[in-house]
């Protein structure tokens, strides 16, 4: 999994609703190959926060210590929107070539 892509997958997951680290890891684990070493998600999240693409808030949890939740900032939403546009055009281009090559 390319690192840059993983960052945008994380942003995408967080854009639907704020999540805490372990929850996010579980979501990513559902997609095969998305996250090979779970621990590396934390330096990645820390980086996204330093870039102000996400911010964090502490929320009470049931029967445990408070949890750190990550949510997408307005800068993060803008970055995500731009990425979606580029991703779609790249995907269409690749699909076009692959399909074109397959029919020959």
């Amino acid at each position: 999994m390319r690192k840059g892509l993983l960052e945008f997958c994380v942003l995408s997951l967080l854009s639907s609703r704020p999540r805490y680290g372990y929850e996010l890891v579980q979501e990513l684990a559902k997609s095969n190959g998305m996250l090979t070493t779970e621990g590396t998600i934390y330096p990645l999240l820390s980086r996204l926060r330093r870039e102000r693409l996400v911010d964090t808030e502490w929320r009470e949890s049931t029967g445990g210590p408070p949890r750190k939740y990550y949510r997408v900032t307005s800068t993060g939403h803008r970055a995500l929107a731009s990425f979606h546009g580029e991703w779609r055009s790249l995907r269409d281009a690749v699909d076009g070539i692959v399909r074109g090559g397959g029919t020959k």
């Binding site: 390319r2 690192k3 840059g4 892509l5 960052e7 945008f8 805490y20 680290g21 372990y22 929850e23 890891v25 090979t36 070493t37 779970e38 621990g39 590396t40 934390y42 330096p43 990645l44 999240l45 820390s46 980086r47 996204l48 330093r50 870039e51 693409l53 445990g64 210590p65 949890r67 750190k68 803008r78 970055a79 731009s82 990425f83 580029e86 991703w87 790249l90």
Partner: protein, 189 residues
């Protein structure tokens, strides 16, 4: 119910991670250690039955501490690429031409250009500023004057005339680098 050797397994992993992260700034290291500690707590809570074996599997999934440390030391893939330019960058480019010191400060404050680009642009701008600044004129006149004069015509007037282009070169360079920020996918290539 804790695994028989739970603390040995968990503390052992955390100790290895802490050693791997020793090169990091303390604030970030402490934060990362806390993140991993809560992850382990959540992972343990999610285990149906905690035995040494199931706990080891959960810990193994975190990955090699060296790999986490490597990720922590990585520059952001999105950092310079994801950061879109805005008013600061626009003003930075324009002021680099008309009011260099203010422009340079904005450029240095911006999060869009990389350090390398900032140094390059600042060096070009500073060169023109220092040479043309009245306070430095006598010094420049003494040192550079004879050198330029030694070149004779037509090189000398050409050289002096082109000094005025330097701020425009610096601004042009900055603007060009901004253009290359336009695509995120570049970062993934």
């Amino acid at each position: 119910m804790s695994a028989p050797h739970a603390s040995l397994i968990v503390d052992g992993y955390l100790a290895r991670l802490e050693v791997a992260l020793l090169g990091m700034p303390a604030v970030r290291r402490i934060e990362l250690m806390d993140d991993v500690r809560s992850h382990i707590a959540d992972a343990r809570a999610a285990l149906e039955v905690e035995t040494d074996e199931t706990l080891l599997i959960a810990i193994d999934r975190l990955g090699d501490p060296a790999e986490i440390a490597r990720e922590a030391g990585e520059p952001a893939a999105t950092a310079s690429h994801a950061a879109r330019w805005g008013w600061v960058e626009l003003a930075g480019v324009l002021l680099t031409i008309v009011l260099w010191p203010a422009g340079a400060i904005l450029v240095l404050l911006s999060r869009v250009w990389t350090r390398q680009e900032k140094i390059t642009a600042t060096a070009i701008g500073a060169m023109a500023f220092v040479i043309s600044f009245p306070l430095f004129a006598p010094l420049m006149g003494l040192v550079i004057g004879p050198l330029i004069a030694g070149l004779g015509a037509p090189l000398a007037p050409m050289l002096i005339g082109s000094l005025g282009i330097l701020p425009i070169v610096a601004a042009g360079y900055l603007a060009w680098r901004l253009r290359s920020r336009e695509t995120y996918l570049e970062a993934l290539a």
